[in-house]
């Protein structure tokens, strides 16, 4: 055991981590890109992830795969990013607060919209073009809403955990989810989803 620790201390992890950049870089980038609003920020977060991996190399246990370990680091870096970006207060929301409030006020009209589409999830996911549209709509969300929505509706994380991790009250969380869902629905309506509008449910 002592020998193993000694070897680990002497061995440089640089070669292996450089290989991981090639091997897992795309996956990490895709993971980050789904969760933050810009290409540059996604790249920065992936870079920070590899630097952390280098720093915490000694703590890496081989019982999980490098991919799992890297994704877990990246996930925490993304949460840290959003925590730093506070305020959470909806009144002081910096990006799109006004638009979001207007959207919420108009929500009754949106509910009543007779042109409302009938979404067919399987069909949407089959088409690359539509998947791209979904990602674009997600990107259009204010960043903080996007993070909350992604954790809940992409990762299926529990409400309790999300509120704890992002230091949110349940009522603020519910308002953000409601508004995010309305904005996404609005985005789908604007972008048409033409092949789906005639679907019968």
């Amino acid at each position: 055991m002592a020998d193993l620790n000694k070897n680990a201390e002497q061995e440089s992890p640089l070669d292996e981590i450089s290989e991981w950049v090639e091997e897992h870089g795309d996956l990490l980038y895709r993971f980050a890109r789904c969760r933050v609003s810009s290409h540059e920020l996604a790249e920065d977060l992936v870079q920070i992830t590899f630097m952390s991996a280098l720093k915490d190399w000694q703590r890496f246990r081989r019982d999980s795969s490098p991919k799992t370990w890297l994704v877990s680091i990246l996930r925490h870096k993304i949460i840290d990013h959003y925590r730093r970006k506070k305020p959470v207060s909806l009144e002081n929301f910096p990006d799109g607060g006004e638009a979001v409030t207007q959207s919420a006020i108009a929500s009754e009209e949106m509910v009543q919209d007779t042109k409302s589409i009938r979404l067919n999830p399987e069909e949407i996911l089959e088409h690359e073009e539509l998947r791209q549209t979904l990602r674009e709509c997600l990107d259009d969300l204010p960043e903080r809403f996007k993070q909350v929505f992604v954790m809940r509706d992409l990762e299926n994380e529990s409400t309790e955990n999300i509120c704890k991790e992002l230091d949110l009250s349940v009522s603020n969380f519910s308002v953000m989810m409601y508004r995010a869902r309305l904005l996404l629905k609005d985005c789908f309506l604007k972008k048409g989803f033409p092949s789906l509008s005639q679907n019968k449910n």
Partner: protein, 88 residues
């Protein structure tokens, strides 16, 4: 006690119900509203579909060509190479 809710209140409850358990009184008001409102019933099915589609998006997206630019990978490797990891 309030006996009816508006479509906006119903839509808020429909969204909240997907994330947290609703109190009994709110659940009853929502059920009553849905019995009478076709549009909110449609909204409910849209919310469910929205959830389903996003839950499947990440798996489905693995087929798409979203790649980190090679120049970015090279940049990260260069930074790693220039890092004195023993002093991190």
């Amino acid at each position: 006690m309030k006996l009816m809710i508006t479509c906006q209140e119903a839509s808020e409850s429909l969204s909240a119900k997907m994330d947290v358990p609703l109190p009994l009184a709110k659940r009853l008001l929502l059920q009553t509203h849905l019995l009478m409102c076709r549009k909110c019933t449609l909204f409910k099915s849209q919310l469910n579909a929205l959830r389903k589609v996003f839950l499947g998006l990440e798996d489905a997206s693995s087929k798409d060509e979203i790649k980190m630019p090679d120049s970015s990978k090279a940049h990260i490797k260069k930074i790693l190479d220039n890092t004195d990891f023993k002093n991190l």
